[in-house]
Symmetry: C2
Subunit: 270 residues, 2 copies
């Protein structure tokens, strides 16, 4: 057999993972999670599965019977619906009410959890930064914001203030996170950097060609840590401003890497 | 993003193919068919799916609803059961009554056919050898033998004699191939090289550590062409003997390569 007759990254023994979404072409998990799996020495791959909304409920339970399937990742529009597929929900998922990963345990049970927020915490940890004892201002209480609020809440910050243009959504998220973390002061609030140690943007403001800032600020203390969950562009208007003032900044891409690391931990831990 | 953060062989745009079997670890299609897909410039991959017999009937129709799934390959024990999944059967499949590939057409219809025998014909073609007008002796009328008989039959050989240790099985296969190819002389027969131009072994005799020959022979004409469908070992006792006598020999691995080429043609033609 000539070497060109075969590739070295897939065989009959390769463990499968898949990301399920609609649409699917834009997802980055296949190349990134597969790289993480390989870097850890696993003979495994993560493939894209484009499943239509009308097929999801019938297809997923059958797909989960494939014996060499180790886990699933869920993206838009399935993070809520996927909860119903889990035999058990992790701590983050119970707060957020959504999952983005399902892991097939050795016992045959499927465990679901959500890793967006844990990825943010992991990104900070890798930088030697902690949320514990800090006063955090979170902008955005949608899907990403909810997961980030849940994850930060469980890190015991001094306080977590949450702003959303939909005030009711911010209030409901604050209540949920407060209930899960009774010792943390959590409240809906106006967007501000006054008495804030860490500013987190989980709103879409600043994405792609959006030149706006997610809150009205013009100058910043260099003590402030600024994180923006947006991946494109890497340097959002908020990050650019923060760097002009000498703030420590954490990028959306770092959250993505942190999330991937925590997801792969999850896939091989259960 | 550092280069090591991602692999270059899978993304959200990659078209999926899969081989379905039980067990699955031993299959070679993932590394070999993926290599063929890549060599032709397709952004595509073939992954292994281990599906249990009790799950097959419910799982496959759902799996076939995955929008970026281009086709399926079937191995033991599913080549017969998979026929029911096809909207249309190809010429080979109609003779053999089994399929090993299903292709998802642009029109949403699934077309099934079997490529073991076509792989044998393709291997001969690549060597500049033809079955047309030749007298062929085929040993073995099981799964591989049936597919090979169907493929050779449609190449207009002068005659096709078929031997199997189960004489009834040989007779039934001869009848089926004769019906599909009225102008070819097809018959069950004793194993012989007398008046034979091409000897084809599709029986398991000579596989792995089996030192036997699939028919009682001690000397051969160097005009005889000898093909052995066995892949392991590459040089079976029959091939070794044939080479000692200066015969032209064709290897099982060549059939495998020929089959892969024809399957990929099929996946991208429909």
């Amino acid at each position: 057999m000539e070497p060109s007759d075969q590739v070295d990254y897939i065989s009959g023994r390769t463990r499968l993972f898949a990301i399920v979404g609609h649409p699917i072409a834009q997802v980055r998990s296949p190349e990134m999670i597969t790289a993480e799996l390989r870097a850890r020495g696993h003979d495994a791959i993560l493939v894209p599965l484009h499943i239509l909304p009308e097929d999801f409920d019938a297809c997923l339970p059958q797909l989960m019977r494939v014996r060499n399937l180790g886990g699933l990742v869920f993206t838009i529009p399935y993070k809520l619906r996927a909860c119903a597929l889990a035999d058990e929900l992790g701590a983050q998922a119970r707060v957020v009410g959504a999952i983005n990963a399902l892991a097939n345990g050795d016992d045959g049970r499927w465990r679901g959890d959500i890793f967006d927020g844990l990825g943010c915490v992991e990104a900070f940890r890798r930088r030697g930064l902690a949320f514990a004892g800090k006063r955090v201002m979170l902008l955005g209480a949608g899907g990403a914001g909810s997961a980030i609020a849940a994850a930060i809440g469980s890190e015991r910050p001094a306080s977590l203030r949450i702003f959303d243009i939909d005030g009711e959504r911010a209030r409901l998220l604050a209540e949920t996170v407060a209930r899960a973390n009774p010792r943390v002061v959590v409240a809906a609030a106006s967007p501000t950097i006054r008495d804030v140690d860490i500013l987190v943007n989980a709103s879409p403001v600043g994405m792609l060609d959006d030149a706006r800032l997610p809150l009205p600020i013009s100058d910043l203390s260099r003590e402030l840590v600024v994180f923006d969950a947006i991946v494109k562009p890497e340097r959002t208007p908020l990050i650019t401003l923060a760097e002009q003032f000498g703030c420590t900044t954490v990028y959306g891409r770092e959250m993505m890497r942190g999330q991937i690391a925590r997801m792969v931990d999850f896939f091989y831990a259960v």
